[in-house]
């Protein structure tokens, strides 16, 4: 990643907008709790204060908690879960896909059957079982999301590696006596990562959605305020105080949308043809 790459990313309107919005969310999520260290669970006033009244930007919820503070803390954990679970998924997926594609043979067969096993189980059902078995906590949610999303990464990685391993420069590396594992790491992987990075950006968004779904069902970490939890908790009052569900919902929509837009422009920015043109000395 270098300056040329960042410049290409920013020349896309979608990518620039997405990046700007995401940066705003991250800044608020990181710095607001430092300014206002109040916990989002604290009861600060009477319940059901509508937004923009009595000094509460987004009003209070059914227990009299500050919705804005909740939203900020929700952003913290939703983004954290999105990033960490994507890392877990990438770790498993890249390893399995690269090994399967590079070494072929029986290893490939075994690993791909395992991958398919995970692909045919409905994701949401599997993660509900996993979280219930491991006990609902931040970590079980992160690991669970990683476990149900890695097969996609593995398949893309395998396809990339399969095409790369027959390239001339890989043959050339064999000719100079480079051992297979080293060929995989120095020749194949660096060239295979671009599409995976693009997929990973979208996976962050998917992970936020999955976590929201889990929290909505009451399977999230009970000690953590997330957007999904806020929607779930406000559900019984949908007819009296619809803003309580709508505000975190809009937050999810905008965040996921901006991450997807970043992903889209990453696809173009990482295209080696554009890279070659832009970076030629």
């Amino acid at each position: 990643m270098n300056k040329g790459f960042l410049r290409r990313l920013l020349t896309h309107t979608g990518g620039a907008l997405g990046l700007a919005f995401l940066a705003l969310v991250v800044l608020v999520a990181v710095f607001y709790p430092m300014v206002n260290p109040r916990t989002p669970w604290a009861i600060v006033s009477r319940p059901f204060i509508p937004p923009m009244t009595d000094g509460f930007l987004l009003g209070t919820d059914m227990l009299g908690r500050d919705v804005f503070v909740g939203l900020v803390h929700g952003a913290r954990f939703s983004l954290l879960i999105g990033l960490l679970s994507t890392l877990v998924s990438l770790g498993i997926g890249i390893t399995i896909g690269a090994v399967a594609g590079f070494f072929r043979g029986w290893i490939d067969e075994v690993l791909m059957r395992i991958t398919e096993f995970f692909q045919i189980i409905p994701g949401l059902v599997l993660i509900m079982v996993l979280v219930v078995v491991m006990g609902p906590s931040l970590w079980s949610v992160i690991v669970g999301i990683g476990i149900i999303t890695w097969p996609n990464v593995a398949r893309i990685m395998r396809a990339e590696v399969l095409s790369l391993r027959t390239r001339q420069f890989v043959d050339a590396a064999r000719c100079i006596g480079q051992p297979p594992a080293e060929i995989l790491f120095t020749q194949v992987l660096p060239n295979a990562l671009s599409p995976v990075i693009v997929v990973a950006s979208v996976m962050v968004a998917t992970a936020i959605l999955i976590e929201s779904g889990l929290s909505f069902l009451g399977l999230g970490d009970p000690n953590v305020m997330t957007w999904g939890y806020m929607i779930g908790a406000a559900r019984p009052y949908l007819r009296d105080a619809w803003t309580l569900s709508a505000i975190p919902g809009v937050a999810i929509v905008l965040t996921v949308l901006s991450i997807n837009m970043i992903g889209d422009s990453l696809t173009t920015a990482l295209n080696p043809r554009h890279a070659r043109k832009g970076e030629r000395a």
């Binding site: 390239r167 001339q168 420069f169 043959d171 050339a172 590396a173 064999r174 000719c175 100079i176 006596g177 480079q178 051992p179 120095t186 020749q187 660096p190 060239n191 080696p272 070659r276 043109k277 970076e279 030629r280 000395a281």
Partner: protein, 562 residues
């Protein structure tokens, strides 16, 4: 340039002051500029030039086929008085195929794989004329006959994949001729073909041009092809016309400097040819090597017959010697290289390098001995990892053999110097280099391990002729300096003649002829060898100009980035 040529015909197509602008950030402002040329009714005009000369841009501009990023900035292209640059999309559609037709380089990419040949040829006719289908079919049949395709009736109902590359190109030519165009534009139509097929296609185009009285604009990079087919020649370089004239004058008495450089860079028969190194130590010996690709089932019950890629090839090679292996595609020459490199396992036979039984080493022992035989691959754009710096590309082999970082750096620098690159190249990435420079990097990577044998598999065929000449010189020089045994694999007989002491001609996996270069070229014993030699484009011209005046004055043009 005059509007009339010797025959007194008015030009059917004339280009005046054509300039095509390149997008911002390209290495020059115009793809082509100041282009003036006339094509008369009864001639074949060759546009010849190297990569980036603008020859394809010029030919594509005529039919309005430029990519969206390129725009005609000024000038006009007149076809029978009509200016094609300013013609509307509808007008152009009526002209394309009907009055001006085009044949492209890759026939396999131009044909629709899921439609029959007859369907595709008749589409051209139907697009321009309303005719009863029996009449269309009769015309298609006549066209296929005219381009010498066998059994035109049956052929109409077959799909492109059943045809060879040469036959596909014949179908493309039939499609181009369907509406009896006044002008045929052929953009490198034979570049992807084997030499014998190329000779047939050139003959076909020449014949059709005469019988049909067409004007042909033929774009090529190959001076041999020019000598074979051209009436007049236009030489292009860096987007400008640098020379123009009748083919005879250009080829036999070139006046412009660049034309002379291009012509001198063409390899000649009298190359190395002196038998060298007869008594040096033998570095490679083999028993009969074979490689058979196993039959794999294509359906539930059918089995494909096994393919014999190598059918008993025996090799012996001495230090300081160059063995040229020539053959057409599918002859098994690349399979042989891959088997020698142990990138592909042999089916039977064995070989040793020095006293190392190379063909039977296990994986670990093999890695330790691989430095003895190295290879330079065909495509310098595919053989270098785009994400590694040159230092890593060239130095990895040394590091694996236990050299420390400082030693690696020093040796890489020395090696780059040996192949004619600056030491500063070390910290750059492959995309910053031209094709010729990349091939030098690939040669450095192979030679830094001090191999006894270097295999060059079509190592210069992706390069422009002037760059090709430089790389050939470099290989010969390094062979002598490092006392290497060189196996030079090529489809190009002239290149082989230039570098090889001994020639091995391969056909369908077997060696059909082997002997000292001069003997094979002057007195070929095998029929197939004779056919190959006869098919070399521009053969007569090459022989005629192969005197001392042309032999050894290859210009030392710098390897400019292209």
């Amino acid at each position: 340039m005059t509007a009339m040529n010797e025959d007194g015909d008015a030009p059917v197509l004339s280009i005046r002051d054509l300039a095509v602008r390149l997008p911002k950030g390209a290495d020059r402002d115009f793809a082509v500029q100041g282009i003036n040329l006339d094509l008369s009714q009864r001639e074949i005009l060759c546009i010849v030039g190297e990569t980036g000369s603008g020859k394809s841009v010029t030919s594509h501009a005529i039919l309005g086929l430029l990519p969206d990023t390129l725009r005609v900035a000024r000038g006009e292209i007149r076809f029978r008085g009509r200016d094609l640059v300013r013609a509307s999309a509808d007008e152009m559609r009526a002209i394309r195929g009907r009055h001006i037709a085009m044949v492209f380089q890759e026939a396999s990419a131009s044909l629709d794989p899921v439609r029959t040949i007859g369907d595709q040829v008749s589409e051209i006719i139907r697009a321009h004329e309303r005719l009863p289908s029996a009449e269309v079919e009769r015309r298609v049949s006549a066209l296929l006959t005219e381009v010498n395709l066998p059994d035109p009736r049956a052929l109409q109902h077959t799909y492109p994949f059943r045809l060879s590359g040469g036959q596909q190109q014949r179908v493309m030519i039939a499609m181009a001729l369907a509406m009896q165009p006044a002008v045929l534009i052929a953009d490198e139509p034979t570049t992807a073909l084997d030499v014998t097929t190329q000779a047939q296609i050139l003959q076909l185009i020449r014949g059709l041009q005469r019988t049909r009285d067409m004007a042909v604009l033929f774009v090529t990079h190959d001076i041999g092809v020019v000598a074979e087919i051209a009436d007049r020649v236009v030489v292009m370089r860096h987007g400008r016309i640098v020379d123009t004239g009748p083919a005879d004058a250009i080829l036999h008495h070139p006046e412009a400097d660049y034309t002379r450089q291009l012509i001198d860079a063409v390899p000649r028969f009298t190359g190395a040819a002196t038998a060298r190194a007869r008594n040096d130590e033998v570095v490679l010996t083999s028993t009969e090597l074979t490689k058979t690709y196993a039959a794999h089932s294509t359906g539930l019950f059918r089995r494909r017959p096994a393919v014999r890629a190598l059918a008993g090839v025996r090799l012996e090679l001495r230090r300081g010697e160059t063995l040229g292996i020539v053959g057409e595609s599918g002859s098994g020459k690349s399979t042989l290289a891959r088997c020698l490199m142990r990138l592909t396992p042999l089916s039977s036979g064995s070989f040793s390098i020095g006293d190392v039984p190379f063909s039977v080493l296990d994986e670990n022992a093999l890695r330790a001995e691989r430095h003895r035989i190295q290879m330079v691959f065909q495509d310098p754009y595919a053989s270098l990892n785009p994400r590694q710096r040159v230092e890593a590309i060239v130095g990895t082999g040394l590091r694996l053999r236990g050299a420390g970082p400082d030693e690696v750096r020093a040796r890489v620098k020395e090696m780059l110097g040996l192949v004619g690159l600056d030491g500063s190249a070390m910290d750059r990435y492959p995309h910053e280099f031209s094709g010729g420079q990349r091939q030098r990097i690939a040669i450095a990577r192979a030679l830094v391990l001090e191999p006894a044998i270097l295999i060059a598999d079509e190592a210069v065929s992706a390069l422009d002729v002037s760059v090709q000449a430089q790389v050939l010189d470099l290989l010969a020089e390094l062979r002598d300096r490092l006392h290497l045994a060189l196996i030079f694999i090529t489809h190009d007989l002239l290149v082989a003649a230039q570098v090889a002491d001994r020639i091995m001609v391969m056909n369908q996996g077997a060696v059909v002829e082997e002997g000292p270069t001069a003997e094979v070229f002057t007195n070929p014993q095998d029929d197939y060898t004779r056919r190959l030699l006869a098919a070399i484009p521009g053969r007569d011209w090459l022989v005629a100009t192969d005197g001392p005046a042309h032999g050894k004055q290859r210009p030392e043009t710098p390897d400019t980035r292209t």
